[in-house]
């Protein structure tokens, strides 16, 4: 069925809907990854966006049980050059078309996706509409303009979990319907697909310093649209994860007494989330915090910085990011339209909480393509965040070490807390000796 794609500036291309019909709105963005369409369209960060894939041949390996990043299809629609209705891969269980259909999502093909990409590159990411019903470009431009778009909007509400839950990968897989074989996707098992190997016996021999952790870290993950692979990576780093809805109050989180707090990725404009920023601000310094993507942006805002919209964002799996601490370059997965601006701090008090004082912010990572901020660290606040996606999926695994950094931060914190407890106990003992028994059961280590 004929479909028209019209952007708010009037740019129009004609294609064919290979599945779905109707009219869909969203911000039109492009992703340059050569592989990973399943992960991309199920990534909650794409909520509100119509995704164009620059690689022209899509659907080749179908859809499988394992590779979705959430239980839903998140992108508003998919734009490609050529759909392959005949996938072939030993893990494939269905076709992309069936998958899109089962989630009522439109997919159009036959589009000059390169022309579209070049247009977005020059004119910037913008609102657009795909329609199989209204084929009048002028009318569609009007509709696209009338669409609210992403800027300043809270998109997180559509993707965050409703209730908190404890992450368990095996359970998750079982709920998905499961797949016969267990797939050892750590990449370090010589690429074997094991017939019946349990998750517990994964061959985590630690190529990049990943070790089996005896210690279980209690981590609370704030879900702004969290990708499954983040949870998997955290789990593999030794974390026991409680996922909480995006609007959970800081007090509730701290009441769970976690070893660390994780702020997830998510869709849309971070500046459209003032309440959450206020809660995040309350968490600063209380526990080690690790943020990815939207989580990183929220940390930036909570620290008192601003964010701005990138012209066409970073969406792909080949962006070079330099780790300024080690001097090494990581090839990274990226998916963001906004960026933290460290040039000035503002003194607003979102959520009525003042920004904390610190003077040890370090830029840890920058993007070598455009020198934008990719990672930062505030040691005094035990804060670590990256704009890009160390969990990859899709994308290269060069930055897996960051999950290790997070657990190390939690180790240090726990160590200090133990020390503090010890010395407090000693003080208490002294007090007791000196002043006699008095209750001093206050929880230590909350203020750092």
């Amino acid at each position: 069925m004929k479909a028209l794609l019209v952007l708010e500036d009037g740019f129009t291309l004609e294609g064919e809907a290979f599945c779905g019909r109707g009219e869909v709105f969203g911000e039109v963005v492009f992703n340059t990854s050569l592989t990973g369409y399943q992960e991309i369209i199920t990534d909650p960060s794409y909520k509100g966006q119509i995704v164009t894939l620059t690689y022209p041949l899509i659907g080749n390996y179908g859809i499988n049980f394992d590779d979705s990043e959430s239980e839903r299809l998140q992108a508003e629609a998919l734009i490609i050059r050529e759909y392959s209705p005949f996938p072939h891969n030993w893990r494939a269980t269905t076709t992309l078309k069936e998958f899109l259909e089962s989630h009522n999502t439109m997919g159009i093909e036959g589009i000059d996706t390169r022309a579209l990409t070049r247009h977005i590159r020059e004119a910037g990411a913008m609102k657009g509409v795909i329609s199989t019903e209204d084929l009048d470009p002028l009318s569609l431009v009007q509709k696209a303009r009338a669409h609210p778009g992403l800027v300043g909007r809270d998109m997180v509400q559509y993707v965050t979990c409703k209730e908190s839950y404890v992450w368990n990968e095996r359970l998750e897989r079982a709920q998905d319907g499961g797949c016969g074989g267990e797939y050892d996707d750590d990449g370090y098992g010589a690429g074997r697909f094991h017939g019946a190997v349990s998750t517990g016996s994964r061959n985590d021999d630690g190529g990049e310093g990943r070790r089996h952790h005896k210690r279980q870290y209690k981590v609370v993950a704030m879900d702004f649209g969290i990708k499954r692979n983040i949870l998997k990576m955290l789990e593999r780093a030794g974390c026991h994860i409680t996922v909480v809805p995006a609007y959970t109050r800081a007090e509730e989180i701290l009441a769970l007494d976690p070893d660390g707090i994780f702020l997830s990725n998510g869709p849309g404009d971070p500046a459209g989330l003032p309440t959450i920023i206020g809660e995040v601000r309350k968490l600063l310094g209380k526990r080690p915090i690790f943020g990815i993507c939207l989580g990183h942006q929220l940390l930036g805002l909570a620290l008192g910085f601003k964010t701005y919209k990138l012209k066409f964002g970073h969406h792909g799996g080949n962006h070079p990011v330099k780790n300024l601490i080690t001097g090494k370059v990581e090839i990274t997965a990226q998916n963001h339209g906004f960026c933290v601006d460290l040039s000035e701090r503002v003194t607003g008090t979102p959520g009525g909480v003042p920004a904390p004082a610190f003077n040890d912010l370090k830029v840890t990572h920058i993007n070598l393509n455009d020198n934008t901020l990719e990672g930062m660290e505030v040691p005094s606040l035990r804060l670590l965040s990256v704009q890009y996606h160390p969990e990859a999926s899709p994308g290269p695994h060069d930055s897996w070490y960051l999950f290790e950094s997070f657990t190390r931060m939690m180790d240090d914190f726990a160590g200090e807390r133990d020390m503090k407890r010890l010395s407090q106990n000693r003080n208490q003992d002294q007090d007791m000796e000196e002043k006699g028994a008095k209750s001093a059961s206050s929880k230590a280590g909350v203020e750092v």
Binding site: L13, F30, T32, S33, L34, T35, G36, Q38, E39, T54, Y55, P56, L57, N60, Y61, N64, D66, D67, R81, E82, S84, F86, P87, H88, N89, W90, D112, T113, R114, A115, T117, R118, R121, G181, D185, G187, Y188, A190, G191, R192, F193, N203, G207, G316, G317, N318, P320, K322, G327, K328, V329, I331, L368, N369, A392, S393, P394, G395, P396, H397
Partner: protein, 1074 residues
């Protein structure tokens, strides 16, 4: 980490002559490296024996040694030049092996030369299978189960352990020479024995078969700071079991999920780190079991490779250039991405098109050779095509091959579809045993009603690819019904169908289809290859055509000239023509023109986007060239440099109003057309062998009778002596005429009187239309009758009288003027007694242009390009011939080792793949060097076996005497030995095959013989001597098959044994030329 300042002088080793498995991709990598390193201010010393390369142009390096690439000779160069470091990773396997050997011999340590790029340990770890296996196990990666064995028995024992089929790979050989797949013990016995013979260390690897598994390659780069990036993934259309050089391959990988791809990426990164390739590019191959995803590492090349060249062209990322810079200490993040300028080279290219590479085979040149594709590479070249879909790229690639196919069938060259259903069994057999036609048989298979699962069961070609082929086949049906309906026409173009295919289906001609689609606005658009899928602005104009909404070309208003390249390498048309195209591009740039290059061969320098102002990576067909002309509107097109490929288009392009620069198509035709040519010679009072043309057997008989046997027969309009034969009687003539029709494509067959025992001379000259100057006169060592492309030759002539040479020059200049040549002209003469005959006139760049340029220091191709723009030779400072005082000998390299079953004697059909040059003070030494460089060094002691045809017996006596005096022992069969004894030359008589044992073949096998002089009585397996020559090839004993060759060898030996080899750069030689 900026570049190293502790080094000043860098030695680069090239890859030597073009052979199967090692072609001009290493000229591309070497040229890039030379350029990159000189830009950084280093002094570059280059050694390469191949004069046809662009890298050996005197401007490319500070000093260029066109000398044999052997450890002995390179040691001499090191002693003379004292380089600080040596870069061995850009010269293919030759470069790597030479470097490793120099290390083993302690030469590098002795002269304090450091290996950069890859250290010896890394080379050894990657090349030695056992070490490699251990290394992979060390990092937890699987490899195929395998064992090195040194005997057939051990091979059989291990095969029993792992089960058949097994793969046999000889250690330390190129392109899998001598390897194969054994399905049973009998085959294993044969293949193992052959493999052991081929391995320089008599060792083979017997390996678990992963035939039918999915095959992948990753191109990986690493820098000193341990940053690693993947430049490109390549998926083989043909699964494991066919050498990757013989496989259709596709970039990027098509059928892997991100998880699987990333797993492979992780593995590749671990491999390059473990092997320890410090800096530069490597190629790592993987196999994946399609049933369960089990992945094994197949092999790793710790250097740039054929695939790196492909990956560079496929992505726009210049691997060799970056590798060179990394080798001198830069890190990836310090280097800019050439294409985007603003972003760094430290990234992974992403592409928004599909790339298909198809090998080009030349089995027609080797009747009797086994056409089955196996783990031993047999192709001689390749093409690459870019499209927005696999279907489009595949069809473009097929028409790029120039094998008169214009897509996947429906071009009038197919088997009849109706009979196909009946032939199903035969089709099944054809797709099960892969050969070069398999891709077409996949189409037949669908047409014959086979489904994807059935075809998959036969081929193990991934079903995704099969589905795409099926789509083409199905669309063809739709197209057939309504070929000229605009919507369908448009879809056809998007499926990659050529105008030729559509014309065939519509029953009209190519140009009508073109006009119809243009009338409906269906025109090709051009998109950019930009490394980043459009994410960043690109500055490098590297284009491919497709049928889409938007065109990205930016035609300038500058004066511009389009150069048409030579297409895929094949026998008869190879790197020499790419050299000429590249030189022309440089010349036009110097003259201030915008240069537009069109070519489809990914191995070449011409398809480096740095060579020209604009690069169109496109098939060289009329349709595709006209599409570019529509967009670019060039002021003129140069066809003279790309060999026969562009010349074939001359008349058609001119008819479409395209201006052809240089010699007019009419003049070209005057030289090609027999009758016009005869008229021309009559007018100038020049001689040619009596001749005639014919279209039928009867006519041929009549002509042959009137001019007398033997006659030389050949089709017109072919290059490389395709289907050319010397015919001695009517019977052979008739059978020739029946088969020649196919090669001739409707053009008449040419019949010439064959001149026996005539000296052949090749002359290259340049003319501006008014003035003509001789470029060089080359006297062939072999007599006329052996294709000029297969003959050794000497510049200047070594035996012809001065007056004769002068007369040849006079005739050359006369012809150049008469033909109004503007540019280059090549003439072949035969000298018999006092008579000079003209065999052939080619008013275009010839195969010998680069050799002549290297021999004389005159850049003929460059000057010719300028002449075509209207410059006169006096303006360019060339008013007379430059005759050097030293001697340059060109020798050819033949691929017989790859084709068991093919006789090795030379004839009028060209079969060599490459050439080398020996250069020295005298003919003898230059010849001896050329033999060493060609890989068949003359032995300086030992036993020579002599067995010659009766007609050659008289000439043999002085040669035998000379050899005997030099201390060689002589061995001869009955007739020859009696002759020698009668002349008082000591000789040992040996048995022919069948006379008793041990016979000559036993002696060869036992290593008793060091050199064979064998002039043939006949060609082919019916003769005993065929066995002899075959065994000699297998056991690496040099064979000289002509008396002239033997005389030259004797002279070479005399000098070689008296004085050692000395080396000298061509820059020094050229300084002497006045």
């Amino acid at each position: 980490m900026p570049k190293r300042t502790d080094i000043k002088k860098i030695l680069i080793i090239g890859s030597g002559p073009i052979i199967i498995g090692q072609a001009c991709e290493f000229d591309y990598s070497g040229s890039q490296a030379c350029k990159a390193l000189r830009q950084e201010g280093y002094e570059v010393i280059l050694v390469n024996s191949n004069p046809a390369t662009i890298m050996t142009d005197p401007d490319m390096a500070d000093r260029t040694y066109i000398e044999p690439i052997t450890p002995e000779v390179v040691e001499k160069i090191i002693a003379r030049e004292r380089p600080d470091v040596m870069l061995p990773t850009l010269g293919g396997q030759t470069g790597l092996n030479t470097a490793a050997e120099l290390h083993r011999r302690g030469v590098l340590a002795k002269y304090g030369v450091e290996l950069i790029g890859a250290k010896f340990e890394a080379i050894e770890k990657a090349e030695d299978r056992e070490l490699f296996k251990a290394a992979m196990q060390n990092i937890g990666l699987e490899v195929c189960r395998s064992r090195h064995v040194g005997s057939v028995e051990a091979a059989i024992e291990f095969a029993q352990e792992i089960g058949y089929p097994v793969i046999v790979r000889p250690s330390y050989t190129l392109g899998g020479t001598g390897g194969g797949v054994a399905y049973n013990v009998e085959e294993l016995r044969e293949i193992a024995s052959n493999g052991l013979d081929h391995s320089p260390i008599r060792q083979i690897l017997v390996e678990e078969s992963v035939i039918g598994w999915k095959e992948y390659e990753l191109e990986v780069m690493r820098d000193k700071a341990d940053n690693v990036v993947i430049i490109c993934s390549i998926e083989n259309f043909d699964p494991m079991g066919i050498h990757t050089g013989d496989s259709i391959t596709v970039a990027p990988a098509q059928t892997l999920t991100d998880r699987e791809y990333q797993m492979m990426r992780d593995a590749a990164i671990r491999v390059i780190r473990e092997i320890g390739v410090e800096t530069g590019g490597s190629n790592i191959q993987f196999a994946i079991n399609p049933e369960n995803g089990r992945m094994v590492v197949v092999e790793m090349n710790p250097r740039v490779s054929r695939s790196s060249a492909l990956a560079s062209k496929a992505t726009g990322f210049p691997i060799a250039k970056i590798a060179a810079k990394l080798a001198v200490g830069y890190t990836l993040d310090e280097l800019p991405n050439d294409i985007t300028k603003k972003t760094p080279a430290c990234f992974e290219p992403t592409i928004d098109y599909c790339v298909v590479k198809i090998p080009r085979w030349d089995f027609v040149k080797f009747p009797g050779a086994d056409r089955t594709l196996t783990t031993q590479m047999k192709s001689v070249g390749e093409v690459m095509a870019i499209g927005r879909t696999f279907k489009e790229a595949l069809q473009k690639a097929i028409r790029s091959l120039e094998q008169d196919r214009y897509g996947l069938g429906s071009d009038g060259k197919d088997e009849d579809a109706k009979s196909l259903r009946e032939l199903r069994g035969a089709i099944e057999a054809k797709i099960k045993v892969p050969d070069p036609d398999r891709i077409f048989y996949l189409r037949y298979a669908f047409q014959a009603g086979m489904d994807i699962d059935e075809i998959y069961a036969c081929t193990k070609i991934d079903k995704w690819f099969l589905y795409n082929i099926k789509q083409i086949v199905e669309f063809e049906e739709k197209l057939k019904k309504n070929p000229l309906e605009p919507a369908i026409l448009r879809e056809a173009k998007r499926y990659g169908f050529s105008d030729r295919q559509i014309a065939y289906l519509a029953g009209t001609d190519e140009l009508s289809v073109r006009r119809r689609r243009l009338a409906h606005g269906i025109q090709a658009v051009f998109k950019l290859v930009d490394t980043c899928a459009g994410e960043f602005e690109a500055f490098t104009p590297y284009f491919y055509s497709t049928y889409e909404a938007e065109d990205e070309t930016r035609p300038s208003r500058r004066k511009k000239v389009m150069i048409l390249g030579g297409g895929p390498n094949r026998i008869g048309q190879g790197i020499e023509f790419d050299y000429c195209c590249v030189q022309a591009a440089f010349a036009l740039k110097e003259e201030g023109y915008e240069v537009i290059m069109v070519n489809c061969n990914p191995e070449t320098v011409s398809t480096d986007y740095d060579t020209s102002d604009k690069l169109y990576f496109e098939p060289l067909t009329l349709e595709d060239v006209l599409n570019i002309c529509d967009r670019e509107q060039p002021d003129g097109v140069i066809l003279q440099f790309g060999g026969q490929t562009p010349l074939k288009l001359a008349l058609a392009l001119e008819r479409e109003g395209i201006k052809i620069l240089g010699t007019s198509p009419a003049s070209i035709n005057r030289a090609e057309d027999r009758e016009e040519f005869a008229e021309l010679l009559r007018k100038l009072n020049l001689k040619q062998p009596p001749n005639g043309t014919s279209r039928s057997v009867e006519e041929a008989r009549r002509v042959a009778r009137s001019i007398g046997y033997p006659v030389l027969v050949r089709p017109s309009y072919v290059l490389g002596g395709r289907a050319m034969e010397v015919v001695y009687d009517e019977e052979s003539l008739a059978s020739y005429m029946e088969t020649a029709a196919a090669a001739s494509y409707g053009h008449p067959v040419l019949i010439d009187k064959f001149l026996e025992a005539a000296t052949e001379v090749d002359v290259d000259a340049i003319s501006d239309g008014q003035n003509a100057v001789i470029g060089g006169v080359m006297e062939h060592i072999e007599y006329a009758g052996i294709h000029s492309g297969d003959s050794a030759c000497s510049l200047p002539p070594f035996s012809l009288p001065k007056e004769c040479v002068e007369e040849i020059k006079r005739q050359t200049l006369l012809l150049a003027k008469e033909l109004g040549v503007v540019g280059l002209i090549n003439i072949q003469f035969a000298v018999k007694g006092d008579d000079i005959y003209i065999l052939e006139v080619n008013p275009r760049a010839s195969r010998t242009i680069p050799f002549v340029s290297k021999a004389t220091g005159v850049p003929l191709a460059k000057l010719a390009a300028k002449v075509m723009l209207g410059k006169t030779l006096p303006e360019l400072g060339l008013t007379r011939e430059r005759v050097p005082g030293y001697v340059s000998v060109k020798e050819v390299v033949l691929p017989f080792i790859k084709f068991p079953g093919v006789d090795i004697i030379l004839g009028p059909e060209m079969r060599s793949t490459g050439e080398v040059m020996g250069i020295d003070r005298n003919f003898g030494m230059a010849f001896a060097k050329s033999q060493i460089a060609a890989g068949t060094p003359l032995p300086t002691r030992g036993t020579v076996l002599l067995t010659v045809a009766d007609k050659d017996k008289g000439s043999l006596v002085p040669i035998a005497r000379g050899l005997s005096q030099l201390g060689f022992e002589l061995m001869a069969t009955d007739g020859t030995s009696r002759l020698l004894q009668a002349n008082g030359i000591p000789v040992r008589k040996v048995y022919k095959i069948g006379e008793g044992r041990p016979n000559i073949v036993d002696h060869i096998k036992n290593g008793d013989i060091d050199l064979i002089i064998n002039t043939p009585i006949g060609k082919g397996p019916k003769y005993d001597e065929y066995q002899l020559r075959r065994q000699a090839i297998i056991h690496d004993v040099p064979v000289i098959t002509t008396i002239q060759g033997a005389m030259a060898a004797l002279e070479g030996l005399r000098v070689l044994m008296k004085q050692g080899i000395e080396v000298r750069s061509i820059q020094e030689y050229h300084r002497e030329v006045r």
